[in-house]
Symmetry: C2
Subunit: 240 residues, 2 copies
């Protein structure tokens, strides 16, 4: 994923799209491998996109497709592909209808939102009409979270769904320091699962959430059993 | 910044450190230029870190320095620098004292938290003692937000402070489509400021926050005045 916008790097806006995309990809069984956040700099956007689209099967972008002068994503994406920018006829038609119906003027600024690289197909926007677009393996979407989410929803039937990664979360009242050695041993004994441990700190003491992930249900059960027994052993040794 | 952790890419954990670092950097007058999020893959972490540390003056990392088997950041950072990993003597001393005082065992797992590349200096952790570390221009910090924030605080006197970017936020009741053309013209007339416009959507209609940024106070005033007049003109034309 490539999240675009100076506002994300200045701290003015807290990104919500990365976590949403991550959740949806996990549900679909698609592994999100990398996220980058860059500012509103055309060359930086184009270079980063070229790296990502050549490294990964799918790339999703957020931000920079609105009607103002700082919305430069369509141009940067077109530059990355070496394509001209056009006003997409179907996008023009959608926005003409939309603004005519609301008796709002279809200003040159609003017309900017119809610009796509030549050959792109549109991504529906059920919230505010102005579409995103897809070109090759790159899906260009809005930065406003509600609109990003609507656009991503419209893609759910199009995206290739993999075998979903199954996961078991095992809450653990002990800190990572108490379980690290035993958990490392279990991880070695169960090569078909990935065991993550996520420390929580409530201001006074640590606890841990242990998460076991696998595409293999039986391997998952075996590892979860081993973790449960390990936690019981520690609890007993403390007289809990 | 490099944020490290499978949990960020699976959607299980919503990152809070990126926005915090962004805010602190903005206050210090340091431009945050790029953020990358990668999973717990040693080569990916090392390669990404090498790219970032050669491209930028400062690099901050979050995540992967705890006591469990999936905490591999110290090793990956050492690999990136081609350095061996040691148990940092000062870190060992701090943790020995800490666990002795709490009558907790200094397990091999906890001892993992003293590992740094050879030659690193420690970053204080006022919350839970186990330190981060600095090597060259790379600052390696924890992923738990409270600890990340404490570590970053301890660096405030060390980091080079630039001239802070001043900003003016101008709330705007109109959507971007209504102001885009006029705002683009103002941006051209005021080259010493950066004008961002951030659409907000409440489910029914768009409004916009216009943010003007500059290191030059006078240029900021002039641009803010022009934006204010533009908004008044639009409001009058609508009979508001």
């Amino acid at each position: 994923m490539l999240a675009i916008g100076d506002e994300l790097l200045s701290g003015r806006t807290k990104d919500k799209n990365i976590a949403h995309l991550a959740e949806v990809m996990t549900l679909l069984g698609i592994d999100l491998k990398e996220v980058r956040i860059v500012g509103d700099e055309p060359h930086m956007i184009a270079d980063t996109l070229n790296t990502l689209r050549r490294s990964y099967d799918l790339v999703f972008t957020s931000g920079g497709i609105g009607p103002t002068h700082d919305d430069i994503t369509a141009d940067a994406v077109a530059a990355a592909f070496g394509l001209p920018v056009i006003e997409h006829p179907d996008a023009v038609a959608r926005l003409e209808t939309y603004y005519a119906g609301r008796q709002m003027e279809f200003t040159p600024a609003r017309r900017r939102m119809t610009r796509t690289p030549k050959g792109a197909s549109l991504i529906d926007n059920s919230v505010s009409v102005a579409p995103g677009f897809r070109i090759d393996n790159v899906f260009v979407m809005a930065g406003v979270p509600g609109v990003f989410q609507a656009m991503l929803s419209s893609l759910l039937d199009v995206l290739p769904a993999g075998e979903p990664l199954k996961s078991r979360a095992v809450p653990c009242p002990f800190g990572e320091g108490d379980i690290g050695d035993a958990l490392g041993a279990i991880a070695k004994q169960h090569p078909n699962v990935v065991i993550g441990s996520y420390p929580k700190f409530d201001g006074e003491r640590y606890s841990t959430e242990i998460v076991i992930r696998s595409r293999d249900e039986a391997a998952l059960d075996a590892a979860a059993l081993a973790v449960g027994e390990m936690l019981e052993t520690i609890a007993r040794s403390r007289g809990d």
